[in-house]
């Protein structure tokens, strides 16, 4: 069995499978549609709450339960779910004010959608979702987009008119895509502590049967789900889905091998080969919208503000060696925009691996090697801390490669690994010299959060007016072509200035039983379980 990379660019085993299935559906052959089965998924993290707006984790276990108006598909393109279509300027769903500064989005809702308790889903729920999440009393992990909205009108139960305070091209990746909250069940309740958080009410193909903290979430089929397949058969096909919490990665692999778990993602690279060797197991690569990078902290040692030093770093790091150390699954990358996006610019300034170039740059800039082999200028040694999140084996491996690479050009890097809140605080406040880690974006990436002067994730205090201007431009236009052109320039400018070194893409390895049919990985941070209705287990 060979690994098959999955992306919209390659014809993989999965797409062939899909093609075959589609043709079966379209031809309406006598072949009976198989259905049923209970799928048990292994998750490597403890779930804190099942409320998508307050959880600090991905929405894996909740994605089959609560639905949004839109959802990203396997190609990271938004498709309608509870809305009837994705609003665009072209179809009249988005109307821009004459001054070009605000916009109105009209969602036409799907009729005959019912909550799990049988009550109809209406535009009042859309407005309630916004109000509930926006409420300052609600302590939420994600309030994305709430502040951009001025008001929501509900002229009829199936129409929601959302008035925005600004032009928000990323509207689809926030609020209404995460999931709808039921007004009739939550109005007047305290969302911080309501039992909803352990047993959310949704419109999705599965219903929460039981949530045992630290153990599992058991979902059962929603017999009244609004979707039917092409042949008019009721979806979903699976009888039940379970999400089992297995914090230890070795144990997770053991569970896959013993059949106690039938699907797991983010399988450690080191264990892919042994899983792939199993006759009843598929392992596929999912190209997630995420990349690994090394950031320079501009509040840190002065040498890091010297472009020569950053350029020397760029030439000294052997990204092929990093990729190889990680099993060869993540591939070297030159830009911060991952190749999955059409805004990916492959013609950015490049810094090929060359120790002699790196040495020459540092020599010319006046950094001389001391008796200990470490370079220094005006008494300041090129010695820095390099932080990664503790307990992430892949990051720690890459960290070792980077340390070794830099040592050969006379730069000393000392590991400084932190976990939990201590790590987040350091990253946010910029109490590090260098940080190696990953960023993930939504299907509508907003880069100003990372590289804008006021970016929330800009813990490195990077500030470049040109970058700010380009990002502001890209993030306020609804014109896809103009946006792509601006993002192209942004990438070029960023790679000239090098506040960050993109190292590799991120690949999530997914292992699943070969009995599972119709599974397609999703590259976005909306999880692989955003579209599970057509999955089933072959007998």
């Amino acid at each position: 069995m060979k690994l098959s990379p999955i992306s919209q660019h390659s014809v993989s085993r999965k797409s062939r499978l899909l093609l075959a299935l589609t043709s079966v559906l379209l031809c309406g052959t006598a072949l009976a549609q198989e259905r049923g089965g209970t799928l048990t998924v292994g998750l490597s993290y403890d779930i804190d709450t099942l409320n998508v707006y307050s959880t600090g984790f991905l929405h894996d276990a909740v994605a089959p339960v609560i639905e949004g108006l839109l959802a990203p598909d396997k190609n990271a393109k938004y498709v309608p779910v509870l809305a009837r279509e994705v609003p665009t300027v072209k179809n009249g769903g988005i109307k821009v004010a004459p001054d070009g500064k605000t916009m109105i989005i009209t969602y036409k809702l799907r009729p005959n959608v019912k909550w799990h308790d049988g009550k109809p889903f209406t535009s009042a729920d859309v407005r309630f979702t916004w109000e509930a999440v926006k409420n300052p009393k609600f302590i939420a992990e994600s309030k994305s987009g709430t502040e951009d909205i001025l008001r929501i009108d509900t002229p009829d139960p199936l129409t929601a008119v959302v008035h925005y305070k600004r032009i928000a091209p990323d509207f689809a990746s926030t609020l209404f895509t995460f999931g709808m909250l039921p007004k009739h069940a939550l109005e007047g309740k305290d969302l911080n502590t309501d039992p909803y958080n352990a047993k959310p009410l949704g419109t999705g193909p599965f219903i929460v049967k039981e949530f045992r903290r630290g153990q599992y979430v058991a979902l059962t089929r929603n017999p009244n789900y609004w979707r039917k397949d092409a042949k008019g058969q009721q979806l979903p096909y699976l009888d039940a889905m379970n999400f089992k919490i297995i914090p230890d990665s070795n144990t997770l692999v053991t569970q896959l091998r013993s059949g106690e778990v039938q699907l797991a993602y983010n399988v450690p690279y080191a264990q892919v080969k042994q899983l792939d060797a199993l006759p009843n197991m598929n392992v596929v690569q999912n190209k997630v919208l995420s990349w690994q990078h090394l950031d320079f902290n501009f509040k840190g040692p002065a040498a890091l503000r010297d472009i020569n030093v950053r350029q020397a770093f760029a030439h000294a790091i052997n990204r092929d060696a990093v990729s190889k150390a990680l099993g060869g699954y993540p591939v070297p990358i030159d830009s911060v925009v991952v190749p999955v996006f059409d805004a990916y610019n492959k013609n950015v300034p490049k810094y090929p691996y060359s120790l002699s170039r790196a040495n020459a740059i540092l020599d010319a800039a006046g950094y001389r090697r001391g008796s200990d082999g470490i370079r220094a200028k005006n008494g300041a040694r090129l010695s820095f801390n390099i932080m990664v999140q503790a307990g992430r084996p892949n990051d720690e491996v890459a960290q070792q490669v980077i340390i070794a690479n830099l040592k050969s050009i006379g730069v000393e890097l000392k590991p400084d690994n932190k976990s939990g809140v201590a790590f987040r605080e350091a990253r946010y406040n910029g109490t590090y010299d260098l940080w190696y880690g990953g960023w993930i974006t939504s299907a509508d990436p907003v880069y100003s959060v990372f590289f804008g002067s006021k970016g929330v994730n800009n813990g490195q205090s990077y500030s470049n007016p040109r970058i700010d201007q380009l990002l502001a431009q890209a993030e306020t236009t609804l014109d896809d072509d103009a946006r792509r052109a601006t993002l192209f320039t942004f990438q070029t400018e960023l790679m000239k200035d090098l506040p960050t070194l993109p190292i590799t893409t991120n690949i999530s390895m997914i292992a699943f039983t070969n009995k599972l049919v119709n599974f397609t990985p999703n590259p976005t941070n909306m999880t692989n379980f955003v579209d599970v209705a057509s999955w089933y287990l072959r007998k």
């Binding site: 009393k137 994600s142 502040e147 630290g214 153990q215 070795n250 809140v421 990253r427």
Partner: protein, 317 residues
Amino acid sequence: MNVSYLFKRLVSMLPLLLGVSLILFGVLHLAPGTPLDVYADNPSVSPEALEQMRLALGLDQPAHIQYFHWIRGFLTGEWGYSIRTGQPVTLEVVQHLGPTMLLGGVSFLLALLVAVPLGVISALRRSSAVDYTITFGAFLGISMPVFWLALMLQLLFSVQWRLLPSAGMSTIGDGSVLDLARHLILPACILAFASIAGWSRYMRSSMVEVLSQDYVRTARAKGLPGGQVVYRHALRNALAPMITVVALDFAGIVSGAVITETIFAWPGIGRLFIESMNGRDYPVLMALMMIGSLALLISNLIADLAYALADPRIRYE
């Protein structure tokens, strides 16, 4: 031992616990980060929203005011809500304490039932092949990494033979006692293993010491049957020092099962502690640490009391 002694001991725990809580609270607040830092790198949480959360959680107040609020709540049973999950802290603790007590209790009994006879046999057959074998086994047990042994047992029992579940506390949808017992076997054995190794060594040396005492020699000289000498006279005295070790270890077993709980996906207090620590979930952390301290004090007390029961020469006033 009398009731007034017991009362005195219990009352003396109060200022001790108060002091412990003060230190724990101080250390927690000195550690970098606050519960809100989990939102720090989230672009969708605006600085204004963060400020509102800070106010809502009372984190804007000086530490001593926060401590005062906390201790008042703690004493009146208002343990608050977990910042991470929004669940009441009491519920959170109860949900996780049960599985840990079960796992800890079972492995404790298992360890005791195995370690004591092993130690006795080892002592009685001193310097024999049996003694060497047991000693070898004990040192193997002390030096074997838990995660490696666990992985081996999982591969053998779950993957190879498919006899036992490799992790978790129950099969989803099956709440039977038998199912629970099946899930308990591997983690309980692993957790007991390390204790068996240590305890059997204690038992052996304690037994060896007692067997060389004059009264044992006298008993033998008077012609008492060997079994009676060993089990009626020697064992009872040899057990006394064991009690202290074992009773003090009990608190450790209950609170120290973090690795075992993580490997076996056991939803216990150890994992709750790690998760809460990573999120700086103050209300849960404080409750857990207070319970931990209380457990330690109580097991200390039990050790003292049990010691007096086992050895009539000891009297507490």
